[in-house]
Symmetry: C2
Subunit: 159 residues, 2 copies
DNA sequence: CGTGAAACTTGAGGCTC
DNA sequence: GAGCCTCAAGTTTCACG
């Protein structure tokens, strides 16, 4: 799982253009197309690259609002229990356990503020969740592709 | 910029596999490859799909820690001023202005806790920033590709 | 890792509903 | 307007050196 300079440049290129052809990447990094493919295959097998995804403007798909919700749970609720409580809420696009007062920080995307309200109510009905604290996103200042490392449905525990 | 059911299914497919061939997508949604290509071209031109990116496991690239930092600014600091204060810190992978006490919420990726400390010090040296409140990510529970809608370097203001 | 050949995919034209 | 078919150019993928 050791990456050399060439691997890093290939990954950097694929972060900027996930549909770049192997020949195109090869030109940039000084390799032939098959050599690039072999490295990409290896990077995928090793789990460095976990997939490829379109980068979508959520507003265009009808997701007009987003928010970060701090979740507070009863006493010592385990990460797995928190995961169970939020996994079935499709509005959740990311979730983390964090240090500090909150048990978890949850990123949700919703159609509008009414939908956010519904989502909050539904979350608060979960047994483990005792309180929430919401910060509505007013504007997005920065968003890089490296912000989304995990695959869709399955949890990826960083620990 | 109106999307029909076919467009949505194509986007959904490309969110799961950004390198899927047009023929492959066509099989799934019941269209020929050229028809799919035309729609994808249109979706890109309209800004629904803003690009394609590899989905990478940051730990494998040496980014072993991450945190969410609430940023507090002097009085009425504008989003543009906040953006100027954080844009040159490469550890910032996402940033939002939010409702509530904090002026902005910043997602950073760092090599380790020492690197986080350095980043915090560097951020606090910015003129506009008066205080920070950090929540270190202990584990990632969920991460969907829809979490990253924007292109790398340029700011995307959702408002 | 590179080369070259086969299979497949892309992209642009024109044709049909 | 939107889709299908066709064909040339480009891309992926494989075996071999």
């Amino acid at each position: 799982m050791r990456l050399d300079e060439l691997d890093r440049r290939i990954v950097a290129h694929l972060l900027e253009d996930g549909r770049a052809s192997y020949a195109q990447i090869g030109d940039r990094v000084g390799l032939s197309a098959p050599a690039v493919k072999r490295r990409v295959d290896r990077l995928r097998a090793e789990g460095v690259i976990t997939g490829f995804a379109a980068v979508v403007e959520p507003a265009a798909l009808g997701w007009g609002a987003e928010a970060f919700i701090e979740i507070f749970c009863t006493g010592a609720t385990s990460p797995d229990e928190i995961y169970s409580s939020i996994r079935n809420h499709p509005e959740v696009v990311a979730a983390y356990t964090v240090s500090g007062d909150a048990s978890a920080l949850v990123h949700v995307r919703v159609r509008d503020i009414q939908h956010l309200e519904q989502t909050l109510e539904r979350l608060r009905r979960e047994d483990n969740i005792t309180a929430t604290k919401t910060a509505i996103v007013l504007s997005r200042l920065i968003g890089r592709p490296t912000d989304t490392p995990a695959r869709p449905t399955e949890p990826v525990r960083t620990s």
